[in-house]
Amino acid sequence: MDEKKRRLLARQDPAAEGSTAGRSVGGRAHSENTGAGSPKPPTRVKPLSKLGIGWRVVVPAAALVVLTCGQFLNTNDFFPLGSLTQYATAKDLNGTVGSTCIAAQFPGEDEPRRLGFNAATVGIERGDVESQLDRVIAHPELMQSMADSYVRLHPLEPKPETMILCRTTTQLKNGLSVGEPEETTLATWEVR
């Protein structure tokens, strides 16, 4: 009821609103609109209770602690307050650049064909598989669901006979690539 009354009063005071609309720039409408040339202060909603202030201080503080711990523990488990790991790991200028790929052998084709490693093609993104690469290599049967996804997402295409998890590796020297990328097979799975 008080809220409605407040709004009604605010609407009936166009002069005050006009001054505020023209001057409220920096985010502190109250302080900005009580200065010279602004005869009426802006309307304020009911102030926060002690409890309201309390949880608004405690919850962000707790979230900050969790976020900070997420960084030092290097874990994404507390998402959305996990570690900010994207592109956070240093890469050696004389190291290698690896990129995981997925290919499939189709009936009647001589060579395996590279597939798009994304959710629209095999039901999952490359980054997701790379994040659990050891698990997929140890359990290649996980690729069955990628084959099933491919069939469901491409009903007019032939069913793959074999799924091949592969990796291209490029050698760097002083930050420049040297030689041709090397492709290795990480795991294969005969599609059921």
């Binding site: 709004r7 605010a10 609407r11 609103e17 006009g18 505020t20 609309a21 023209g22 409220s24 920096g26 985010g27 502190r28 409408a29 109250h30 609109n33 802006p42 309307t43 304020r44 909603v45 926060l48 608004r56 900050l64 976020l67 900070t68 290097n74 994404n76 488990d77 507390f78 998402f79 959305p80 996990g82 570690s83 900010l84 790991t85 592109y87 956070a88 790991t89 240093a90 890469k91 050696d92 200028l93 190291g95 650049v97 959710a119 039901g123 999952i124 993104e125 980054g127 997701d128 790379e130 994040s131 996980l142 669901s145 997402l153 490029t170 760097l172 002083n174 930050g175 420049l176 690539s177």
Partner: protein, 270 residues
């Protein structure tokens, strides 16, 4: 607690809820496909605590429909608290299903937090230009802090993950990213690694300085917001990494009530 016009929160709310619809349909649209690959589900801590199972295709489609309906209601300011909390819960569940399959992208941190703090503001209308609220001020401040921490803590993470922050800055991270997913036009930069190392140092510096945005006003603030938006535009064009969920939350720094047409505010022109 800082006080800001409720109209600012009302406009920001539209930004966030409309963007959430775009997000679930595009950026985080892999949840439906994840319904086909439940074997890859690696539930995050909160999902494990709440015993949230892997999503099926039908479940993902229903969740998608719920998020869109609730977001439209919340953006329109209809039953604001209820629709806002419904978005927060359904979008939070959606996040478990897009981030819970191995790779966790941190570009959604501020957006998820925005979805959870916006309903705490309560009713906020476009016409509330002259009405200031500590609830709105707190919520927008939390979003602002989340935005800058996305950058500032990524420096901390680089330090933790690399052992020595100079190893990261003098290393081959951008080279690695360009080789894996770079656009064709950006490939020639691979021939000048020194330039890319300089870009890494520059990135480190402005990520470290990002909290400055919390204390700026006026043109300086606009300049910082524009700078970060341009940075993300550049990474999108070069690498396909847009960070849009964070970019949209930069709006929390701006006097969005100025976008409200005068006919909605009921103000008179002099």
């Amino acid at each position: 607690m800082p006080e800001v016009p409720l109209a600012r929160a009302a406009v920001f709310r539209v930004f966030v809820y409309v963007f959430i619809i775009i997000d679930v349909l595009t950026i985080s649209g892999d949840v439906i496909a994840h319904g086909w690959t439940p074997e890859f589900y690696q539930p995050l801590w909160l999902a494990r605590v709440l015993h949230i199972p892997a999503v099926g295709v039908l479940g993902a489609q229903l969740l998608l429909a719920a998020i869109i309906v609730f977001s439209l209601l919340a953006a329109a300011g209809i039953i604001q608290r209820i629709s806002g909390w419904a978005v927060a819960i359904s979008f939070g569940a959606w996040m478990f299903y897009t981030q819970g399959y191995g790779y966790v992208a941190h570009d959604h941190m501020a957006l998820v937090i925005a979805a959870f703090v916006l309903p705490t503001i309560g009713p906020a209308r476009f016409r509330d230009v002259a009405t200031t609220s500590a609830r709105a001020g707190w919520a927008l401040r939390v979003v602002q802090i989340s935005v800058v921490l996305t950058y500032f803590y990524s420096v901390l993470m680089k330090w933790v993950a690399s052992g020595n922050i100079t190893h990261w800055a003098n290393g081959a991270v951008i080279i690695w990213a360009l080789m894996r997913r770079g656009a064709e036009w950006s490939k020639p930069f691979l021939e000048v690694p020194g330039l890319l190392i300089a870009a890494q140092w520059a990135t480190l510096v402005f990520e470290f300085l990002s909290p400055v945005a919390l204390f700026l006003k006026g043109r300086w603030l606009y300049a910082v917001v524009a700078f970060f938006c341009l940075f993300h535009l550049m990474t999108y064009l070069a690498l396909g990494i847009h960070f849009l969920p964070t970019v949209i939350c930069w709006a929390a720094f701006l006097p969005l009530e100025k976008l409200v047409p005068k006919r909605f505010t009921g103000t008179r022109t002099a």
